[in-house]
Symmetry: C2
Subunit: 442 residues, 2 copies
């Protein structure tokens, strides 16, 4: 037998989650799932591996480069999914006749992209998507925003901004300057605003789109419009844009209708703000689009983005299915919640550790632990009869609130000694009911 040791290491660009973080993630998943379910979204699951041709057609060139693609045992050309949207499109077309439309689904799972390693970016990460497919109604758009709002609230986040735009506003602005065909290249330049500054963007627009400096300036002015007042005032301020053209009018009209739905709800409408520079997935979205930033942690970027798309299943079917949805980047959100100290990091969910001084007392200890669990107090038994100092050290390290010690005297008299791990106070040889009361009253 080969006795050489293998160096234990995670694959480059991948990471483990230790218990505290894994539990925090599981509880986030539970909380957002509960929100999704309460709005009528149901979960689905698709495999991590797909035929490569399913994934490749819709992906951008960059995605293709980052795809984990290989030949399987049957020499099939396969790849790990890089997002949850392409598998959704495949799923919907394949199971079209088993699904009830409009179809509301959520999915929480891992996707893989062989990106260049960067701090805080991993090649496997968790996406949490929810989509509303098969209806063009603004009612869906409003609901998706409501779900974003409720999900973040459920995680204890209050101070965030959902930046909202409509692709028709961008299309309309470019059309106004006779640049119908230059929307994508124009937006790609405007996207660099944060990086290269306004002057450079204007110069580049001028050069690339072959327009005057004045036009470039005016385009930038329009695209940089952000809502700063109440939405009803804002729509009055920019009402003049409706006269620019029909496309702009339609985009503004949609936004206004959606805001009036949202305004009636219990969400804080001031956290929804219109921002004409939000573009998102250039080729993909066709209607309302949004990004969500945390007010106290803007630097991490958007934690939840999405929008309306026109034809989800076009690669697979001639039936046109439009929809609207959003995606929460769970890894980024976990990092943010950690930084904002909104994440409960627990070493254990168990409150009481049972400690025995003699192996012969294990049966009794397990019986007590079980009785505690039946009384809704999570409990566990330290598995070895070692020096009490060692077992108490375990309780301290993991964060148990109480230790219950079963020594010789306790075992003989069928009593328990209860130690409060925070105060250090120990109550000697009490009955089970007394011990339970002590734990419950803390």
């Amino acid at each position: 037998m080969d006795n050489t040791l293998i160096q234990p290491r995670t694959l480059s660009g991948f990471k483990d989650r230790l218990p505290q973080e894994a539990y925090a993630k599981a509880s986030i998943v539970e909380k957002v799932s509960e929100v999704f379910l309460s709005y009528g979204f149901m979960p689905i699951e698709t495999p991590h591996l797909e035929y490569a041709d399913i994934l490749v057609k819709q992906g951008s060139e960059e995605i293709q480069k980052e795809l984990y693609r290989f030949r399987d045992h049957g020499d099939r050309d396969v790849a790990l999914r890089f997002d949850q949207t392409v598998p959704l499109a495949r799923f919907i077309t394949q199971h079209r006749h088993e699904l009830i439309m409009p179809f509301k689904r959520y999915v929480i799972g891992n996707v893989f992209r062989g990106e260049r390693a960067q701090k805080g970016r991993y090649r496997e990460f968790t996406q949490c998507d929810f989509d509303f497919i098969g209806s063009d109604s603004l009612s869906c758009d409003a609901e998706i925003l409501q779900v974003i709002y409720s999900s973040l609230n459920a995680l204890g986040l209050q101070e965030f901004t959902i930046w909202i735009n409509h692709r028709d506003i961008l299309n309309g602005i470019f059309a106004y300057f006779g640049l119908h065909d230059n929307v994508e290249s124009g937006l790609r330049i405007i996207d660099k605003l944060d990086k290269i500054g306004l002057d450079e963007v204007q110069k580049e627009l001028q050069k690339e789109l072959n327009i005057t400096a004045e036009k470039a300036q005016e385009i930038c002015r329009l695209v940089m419009i952000k809502q700063t007042s109440h939405y009803s005032d804002f729509f009055k301020e920019i009402a003049y844009l409706k006269d620019y053209n029909e496309i702009l009018r339609k985009g503004l009209q949609d936004l206004e209708s959606m805001f009036s739905i949202l305004d009636d709800l219990e969400l804080d409408i001031s956290s929804c703000r219109i921002n004409f520079s939000i573009a998102r997935g250039l080729g993909y979205y066709t209607g309302i689009v949004y990004e969500t930033t945390l007010n106290r942690l803007k630097s991490i970027g958007s934690v939840c983005s999405g929008g309306r798309y026109d034809n989800l299943t076009q690669s697979f079917s001639k039936e046109r299915l439009s929809g609207v949805g959003a995606s929460i980047g769970l890894d980024r959100l976990i990092a943010a919640l950690m930084e904002l100290e909104l994440l409960e990091l627990r070493g254990t969910m168990v409150r009481v550790l049972l400690i025995v001084t003699n192996e012969a007392y294990f049966a009794f200890a397990h019986k007590i632990a079980e009785a505690l669990r039946h009384s809704n107090v999570k409990a566990e038994v330290y598995p070895d009869a070692v020096k009490i100092k060692k077992s108490l050290g375990y309780a301290n390290a993991k964060g148990h609130e109480f230790s219950i010690i079963i020594g010789d005297e306790e075992f003989q008299t069928k009593t328990l000694s209860v130690k409060n791990m925070t105060s250090g106070i120990q109550i000697e040889k009490v009955s089970f009911l007394h011990a339970l009361q002590v734990v419950r009253n803390s």
Copy 2:
């Protein structure tokens, strides 16, 4: 643009989960997680992809053949995990100094094996493992059995049998016949009992181990011993085996000690039964081992198996870390629960569908839906103002208990019409509180 449609299809040997089944799985995961947490197990996460050398060393030849292994973008030799145990060993060694020992972890995630396609077997499946690492105490063995019992109970399963054995009993039997070195090959033959029958097994043992027919017969007789009486009687019946040799004595002694711990607990001790033919993972387990079958559905095989192992991390570290754990095969369990009709298959978790007859009423409908959710009644708004027949059809198909209709009159008087989808009875134009009461009282 290429307009050829791609045929939507899942990869051969892989499957999607539709909403009903995906929700059922999510609720199983939630229930068993709650059990694991209440016993002090915490979740961890490891990547789906690992360096191939991490996975390959411990895997059997068969596993190597089934491994999804390829070169990544950085020409690294990588593979998808085929179980959760090898990644656990890697994880523990790598994070040794960040972990508190003994270490109790659970993990619920997918593993990949390129097996030959068979009915009901998939190449990607979900394993749910829980392990107790870093203690040799029988207290851990007892707790793992208790967790199996509690998990299955939490899923509504009552009638199951946990078949328990000890590797030292098998080792001791073979040692008794002077066959110390033939345990593995002997067990491999005995494993065929169900397939080829007792006669053939005896013949094969005789031939392969080069022993007399009498010896082969006696080995079979011993290995086929199953507990049929109360465990205390059973241990009396087979007490003579303790005199065979020290190994057998030790195995029986461990089982007896563990049963006496279990007997004091609230689990039904009659569901734990000793069965000398249980071997499990020949090279891997070293102590108590078990398999769990459903009494009403034996044919599907073991839904939860595990045991004690001596040296989990031997590929990665010189430190000896023993442990005990079990693995629930979630896919098999879901199939079983479906067959036993113990699985709640729901089209939606939402009880009330809000229906509007005019787009202008959406804001009002969303407000009502929100008020219902705040009163702990899950509700959703049908997103299109279409013919009522169509929206009611959606409610029927998805299984909403009530539809609340907002037509012209309802909107003008700010009232609601509530239709019970089961009885068909409709209450016209009532207040929100009245509607809430109707829904709550049903």
